[in-house]
Amino acid sequence: MTEFLTAIKPGAGHWLVLSAILFSVGLYGLLSRRNAVGVLMAVELMLNSAALNFVVLNRYVAPGRVDGQMMALFVIAVAAAEVVVGMAIFVALFRHRSTIDVTRMDIMKF
């Protein structure tokens, strides 16, 4: 048991692969969803995995400093701002067109 746990002890590679998996799941959601809120959720997933990457590299490259964590902090703040504006746009779109299906948002002006 102990040997097994030692053999699979997570290193930088494990963490980075985990973050890559989360990012590609988000990418799949971004490309396959039709509802704009679903697309927004997939984008949140991708942003989250990017922030995770920053923290992982902070730990494994410069454990004495906190620059990576600071970047993750800023990513979270920007994500919050992005969700606010995105939600406002969806509400306005829904009011004008009664749908937020992104496959039908293909004209610039009407």
Binding site: I8, S32, V37, E44, R59, V61, A81, F94
Partner: protein, 207 residues
């Protein structure tokens, strides 16, 4: 291997598997409110992963801002746009194949690159100590390597986002109504009524 190392290893796999499974459920469920709950689960698992990495302050921020704020906002968006009952989100087969092929290709490419390349800078870092203190100091540091300018710019960005959100999502006022009030004053209410009702309203106001 110390017991703490063993616990960290097990927790990494448990939390990582939870995050990946919940993320897969998020992108595959057809119901958006369920997807929002799955997103909450993914973000909470990520907060656990941050704690494993030694970033406790970031884990707290993650729970406060993401789980407490952003997910609630997304639930509001789902309800305000009635997308829970108007549009059951079923992707077409073409989009599923396209999205799946793209994301799997991206995953294979990036995962093999990350796994097999030898980064010279990687060291087996011990978990950093006194994170919160260091973050607080560096966030307000005006010297070289300090983050006080991005910190201030983020505050401006958030202010801009608030104002933009209000302006975009507010209801457009009727034609003749000034932009400065909510339209609740008596003169404004009567101003946009048709003539016949306007007389009635004025009389009703008098009597």
């Amino acid at each position: 291997m110390t017991p703490q190392d063993a616990a960290n290893t097990i927790l990494f796999y448990v939390l990582g598997a939870a995050a990946v499974l919940l993320a897969l459920a998020l992108v595959n469920t057809r119901r958006l409110l369920r997807a929002a709950i799955y997103l909450m689960g993914v973000l909470a698992a990520s907060a656990g992963l941050y704690i494993l990495l030694g970033a406790e302050f970031l884990a707290g921020i993650q729970v406060l801002v993401y789980v407490g704020g952003i997910v609630v906002l997304i639930v509001f968006a789902v309800m305000l746009t009635r997308s829970a009952d108007l549009l059951v989100d079923k992707p077409t087969l073409g989009r599923m194949i396209l999205g799946g092929a793209t994301s799997i290709a991206f995953l294979i490419l990036s995962a093999t690159t990350l796994w097999f390349s030898d980064f010279g800078v990687i060291q087996d870092g011990a978990a950093p100590k006194d994170n919160t203190l260091a973050i607080g100091k560096q966030l307000l540091d005006t010297g070289a390597g300090g983050y006080v300018l991005p910190f201030e710019i983020i505050s401006l960005l958030l202010l801009g986002a608030i104002i933009a959100g209000i302006v975009i999502a507010r209801k457009a006022p009727p034609r003749n109504q000034p932009l400065t009030s909510g339209g609740d004053l008596p003169g404004e209410v009567t101003a946009r009524l048709p003539r016949s009702q306007k007389d009635k309203a004025v009389e009703g106001g008098r009597s």
